[in-house]
Amino acid sequence: MSGLDAVRGDIRSGLERVSVPAYVIDTTGVIRWVNEAAKRLVGDVRGRQFTSVVAPEETRRAREHFARKIAGTEKVTDAPVVLVDSEGGRVSAEISSVPLFEGHRCIGVFGQVADVDDAPPEPVPPHLTPRQVEVLRLLQRGRSTDQIAGELHLSAETVRNHVRHLLRALGVHTRLEAVAASRGELLMR
């Protein structure tokens, strides 16, 4: 029961027109609804699998979050994600998503783009594993070991292992160097 139920006026219609992108995905992962702002950001992607809008190196993490919400084991996901628009352009965004219920049954996921980063996402070194890319993305956003562990649902020790392998793969010694290397000329060595 939401306090919104008592509000006069059509909230869905308001949601359609605010400039904050919003979407609904059904339990099979198909995007069933987007608002106008979401169309402007990634195009009219209704009918497509949501993973087709997420950068390839991030689809695994996105799928895990999605599965946990459908299963009812995760209530809110606040996570950075790199989106791919209809022309293949990449946009870095922060997304907040929650399950959509009908009675007690989860019928999908509702999400909103809380923030769009003006700067294009940092390039991904080609020789990293998907896990290493995920860890690098989170380091680029200043996340700590514990925060990364929380977002990836891993133990802090496992995250430290991934970071160690990431540093080795990039040929650097610190997290800071990893972030600098992944975006600067150091990558071209």
């Binding site: 059509d10 999908g108 956003r141 610190t174 972030v179």
Partner: protein, 207 residues
């Protein structure tokens, strides 16, 4: 199957308790009635503005924002001004100022405007929290030097050697840099410094 004409109809047909989802998503949202009274806040907005439900929206604005906000609100309710995205400053419960970017649209029942539905857009992650136009933190020359070396990826030992200081002194400087930038880790400090133009990435030129 009938082709639906507008998106909100389509959302209705999908079913599901969208209202309940809006309550929980981490994007602050609100509803005002025609008189400007706050009729609804979701969890995220309530965290920002506790106890605000039932008050007038001007009660949660910084004093310098109240007059222009009232004027725009009145014009919009009369349908004489379009709803544009705009920035405003909230007065937080501890008396502080919290800048937000707002996207709001008229809330209608039939053709009548019965209020406002709004979304606050500036929920930024830790690294982005400092706006570009925020004044650069005042760091001492020593702290700037430490920041530059941090940005170059040096560890405490290496900084101590380079600066001819003890590691303990370097750690003190690092602590002061972190505090000055509002960062919780060295990595976050460097990312914040880049955002504020205090540091440049390799290969980047100043503009």
């Amino acid at each position: 199957m009938a082709e639906t004409t507008n998106l909100s109809e389509q959302l209705k047909e999908l079913g599901g308790d969208v209202h309940a989802s809006l309550e929980e998503v981490s994007v602050p949202m609100y509803v005002l009635d025609r008189k400007g009274r706050i009729r609804w806040l979701n969890d995220s907005a309530r965290a920002l503005l506790p106890e605000a439900t039932g008050k007038n929206f001007t009660d949660v604005l910084a004093p310098d924002q109240i007059h222009p906000a009232k004027r725009h609100f009145a014009l919009r309710m009369l349908n004489r001004e379009a709803f544009d995205d705009h920035e405003t400053v909230l007065r937080t419960s501890d008396g502080g100022r919290h800048g937000v970017e707002i996207s709001s649209v008229p809330l209608r029942k039939g053709h009548r405007i019965v209020g406002v539905f709004g979304v606050m857009k500036s929920r930024r992650p830790a690294v982005d929290r400092h706006q570009e136009d925020a004044p650069a933190p005042a760091l001492t020359a020593r702290q700037h030097e430490v920041l530059r070396l941090l940005g170059a990826g040096l560890n405490t030992r290496q900084m101590a050697d380079q600066m001819g200081l003890s590691t303990e002194t370097v750690r003190n400087h690092v602590r002061a840099v972190l505090a000055g930038l509002g960062a919780r880790s060295r990595l976050e400090a460097v990312l914040l410094a880049h955002r504020q133009g205090l540091l440049e990435w390799p290969g980047e030129t100043a503009d």
